[in-house]
Subunit: 109 residues, 2 copies
DNA sequence: CGTCGTACTTGGTGTTGCTATCTACCGGTA
DNA sequence: TACCGGTAGATAGCAACACCAAGTACGACG
């Protein structure tokens, strides 16, 4: 993955995944696949799985094991109340940062 | 510093500083002060100095020592051609990411 | 039985921002 | 003189996070 994107994903990927889960519950393999389709072509599975473990341990998501026809059982994640709070916090932080960066972008020559 | 902002700065702070230097050359203490005024209140000096060392070693900036009336000599940094390339790359990466995140933002309920 | 696609796990690495502390220079003040 | 605060920079150690690499597990299909 391009180094710059790798570094930029730190701190944003969690928000991205929480946001995806806020739309509707999903499991790791599915999330990875969707993100790859949406342009994050080089995103590696291990990253997403590790992130899911993290946000579960922090109590932002609930997990449900669902049997799959095509492989091992899926771990379907859904955001809970605490996760929604975290997501709101993410949007606040993002908005602040994006605003300042966009301002620098406009000021560039 | 809020944890979320800390993580989000990874990967963006370099672009922010390069962007500031692209407007006009500056030195570390000044850059830290300006960023703090602009809302990055908890940004620590050490972070900026370390970043400046990094981008100098990567050849993105040129340095000039300038005596100060109020303290030790300043190290004034200015972006060079390679730095401008890096900055362009930063804007491309940022635009891509921001677009996708804003889309998730709009889709939220 | 071997392979492919699905699905998840994990140990190690590199980058990066933060914490904390240090040095250095100057002016004002007790 | 001695001390303090503001200016200016450096750095060792830490934590978080994305990546890399390799592994396990399950079912279907040839």
């Amino acid at each position: 993955m391009a180094n710059q994107m790798t570094e930029m994903l730190k701190g944003t990927l969690e928000g991205i995944v929480l946001s995806i889960l806020a739309e509707r519950p999903a499991y790791g393999y599915e999330i990875t696949a969707r993100l790859r389709e949406q342009g994050f072509a080089d995103l590696v599975e291990g990253t997403v799985y590790a992130l899911l473990v993290r946000i579960e341990q922090r109590g932002f998501v609930d997990v449900q094991k669902v049997p799959s026809e095509k492989g091992p059982p899926r771990k379907v994640y859904s955001v809970n109340a605490q996760g929604r709070d975290q997501l709101e916090e993410f949007w606040r932080t993002w908005s602040f940062l994006a605003e300042r960066i966009e301002q620098l972008h406009r000021e560039r020559n």
